[in-house]
């Protein structure tokens, strides 16, 4: 292959990748763009304004949707990380009868279509006469994120040196002490990765939430889903923009944190 051809190839690859990224970011960019629009309709850009960033705080429904989203995300992450990490350690450390059954069982929530999980939980809550609300939503979110936590934490455990635990226990550390002082700090990056995944899944979910939420526990995506037909006001765009900025910030922080720990590991 001559140099000319190689250059052309490189240029085409760059152009293709750029086009894909434009495709991926276009809908987000347009939402951000219209959050600065002075018109109430997301149709024509009339003029620049920041008023919607103030107006959004007066929209009670929107704010309560935001609050519900946060409550559900945080509680489901905490529960699924706690239960999931314990299971990952247990399944890594012990061999037991039926382990492979538990293993394939864990993949059911990952593999089945979300809509099936949503309606099965809806029907299940219904037969137990549990009224739909924030609790049913949290339980549902834990159900779909926990298996991912187990899988993520366990894959990070595979390089874990068990003899460190033995050494600690030989030196007189109790089982609890060994867990909190040796095991957990070492697998912390794995737990963090699991938590981030659980958070992403919770924030991104629409379908399972749609079936398991009640009237008084509407989350942000459900709120917008209900609004789209009647028209979405720009204060929603403003809130979405703020959320995007916050996630961007969190992601950057995570990256610097990641870079620092990997540097430390190398040293």
């Amino acid at each position: 292959m001559n140099i000319h051809n190689k250059r052309l190839n490189k240029f085409l690859s760059a152009a293709f990748v750029t086009l894909i990224y434009i495709f991926l970011y276009l809908p987000i960019a347009i939402i951000v763009f219209f959050s600065f629009n002075s018109s109430k309709l997301n149709v024509v850009f009339q003029g620049f304004t920041l008023q919607w960033y103030g107006v959004m705080f007066q929209n009670g429904d929107l704010m309560s949707a935001l609050k519900n989203t946060a409550i559900v995300a945080v509680s489901s992450v905490v529960i699924s990380v706690f239960i999931g990490t314990l299971a990952a350690i247990g399944m890594f450390r012990y061999e037991f009868k039926g382990k492979s059954i538990v293993d394939s069982f864990l993949y059911i929530p990952i593999v089945i279509p979300e809509i099936v999980m949503g309606i099965s939980l809806l029907a299940f809550y219904h037969i137990l006469s549990i009224s739909l609300g924030i609790l049913t939503l949290i339980l549902a979110h834990v159900t779909f994120s926990m298996p991912y936590v187990v899988v993520t934490v366990r894959s990070r455990l595979s390089g874990y040196d068990m003899s460190l635990e033995e050494a600690a226990m030989d030196l007189g550390a109790t089982r609890m002490h060994t867990l909190t002082r040796i095991t957990l700090p070492i697998i912390a990056p794995g737990i963090l990765a699991g938590a981030m995944l659980a958070l992403t899944l919770s924030l991104d979910d629409v379908i399972v939430s749609f079936f398991t939420t009640g009237v008084d526990s509407v989350t942000l995506p459900i709120y917008i889903f209900n609004k789209v037909k009647t028209g979405v006001s720009p204060d929603i765009n403003a809130l979405i923009t703020v959320i995007i900025l916050v996630t961007l910030l969190v992601m950057l922080l995570m990256r610097t944190f990641d870079a620092r720990t990997s540097k430390k590991e190398q040293a």
Binding site: F16, V17, V111, E114, I119, V151, L220
Partner: protein, 304 residues
């Protein structure tokens, strides 16, 4: 006590101890650690799915409840031409979405896998980033772009490329765009990881033996990434059947997919048994696809 804990720690790292009776000091921590997950899965996954399976054989009550009975009517109803058509349209849209994702995703993943380590990380984060904005919100972004008085039409009309706004929203095309958009990362990530794992020296060997790049790609790269292709296709195809909100928002009433049909049975029509039968069908379909996938050497670990 001390020697006992040491012993369990040593035993714990052994692989085959299942034949021996488990000592109490190991059984209790094991139960405490793995027990909660098992319990949770039994209550919130197994029981609900079992319940759906049971009511799929029952009958719809007059006021939308479930009447206990045993019949296969709900499954037979699926063969009604009306519903068969919905299945057909869903499968066509899901197949087209999968193919489009693969055509766009393979070269994309290939280029990223070949990038320098630093660029690789940045490019990968850039795929994950939109994920942190809810998919429904991003779908709403597409509505702004596609509707009759939306961004695309406004741009096209003002540049005189078209004189009348085009009907873009509420078409099957819009549904496809939304599906490809939402599911694209699910195709790229498994493709990327299989391309990344590919042993470069194999390509060098092919090159040394006189293979052209094209031939090396077709005979080495492509066959070795087949598991990644399968994993990606499954992760795009199955969700597409269930993503009712995309066809709701972008297809309007014009596009009813299996997902919408199931949703309607549970909310609008209140015919839970029929909705349950449709869900069971979807599960069976998923299991069959997973079997095929495993048969071709795929592993579950790639489907996460």
């Amino acid at each position: 006590m001390n020697s006992a804990t040491t012993a369990t720690a040593v035993f714990g790292s052994e692989v085959n101890t299942s034949k021996k009776r488990m000592p109490f000091s190991r059984f209790v921590p094991l139960l405490l650690m793995v027990g909660p997950v098992i319990l949770w899965l039994l209550i919130f996954v197994a029981a609900p799915l079992l319940y759906i399976f049971v009511i799929s054989f029952m009958k719809k009550g007059i006021y939308g409840g479930v009447v206990v009975s045993l019949n296969f009517e709900n499954y037979l109803r699926i063969f009604d031409p009306l519903y068969l058509r919905i299945f057909l349209v869903s499968i066509i849209i899901a197949t087209a979405t999968t193919v489009l994702c693969l055509i766009l995703g393979y070269p994309f993943a290939y280029i990223i896998a070949r990038a320098s380590d630093r660029n690789k990380n940045i490019l990968l984060s850039l795929i994950m980033l939109p994920f942190w904005t809810n998919s429904l919100i991003r779908t709403y972004g597409w509505i702004i772009l596609l509707r009759t008085n939306g961004t695309f039409n406004t741009l096209l009309v003002s540049t005189h490329l078209i004189s009348q706004p085009l009907q873009m929203l509420y078409t099957n095309g819009a549904v496809m765009v939304g599906m490809v958009y939402t599911l694209f990362p699910f195709m790229v990530l498994p493709l990327y990881s299989s391309l990344e794992k590919l042993d470069r020296s194999l390509l060098e060997a092919a090159n040394d033996l006189g293979a052209t790049p094209r031939r090396a790609f077709l005979r080495v790269t492509l066959p070795l990434t087949v598991p990644g292709i399968f994993a990606g296709c499954i992760q795009v195809f199955i969700p597409t059947l269930g993503y009712f909100f995309i066809s709701d928002l972008l297809g309007g009433g014009n596009s009813i997919l299996v997902g919408n049909l199931i949703r309607n049975q549970f909310l609008a029509a209140r015919d839970w048994p029929f909705g349950a039968a449709l869900s069971i069908l979807l599960i069976v379909f998923t299991i069959v696809l997973m079997r095929v996938y495993k048969h071709f050497g795929g592993s579950l670990e790639n489907i996460t």
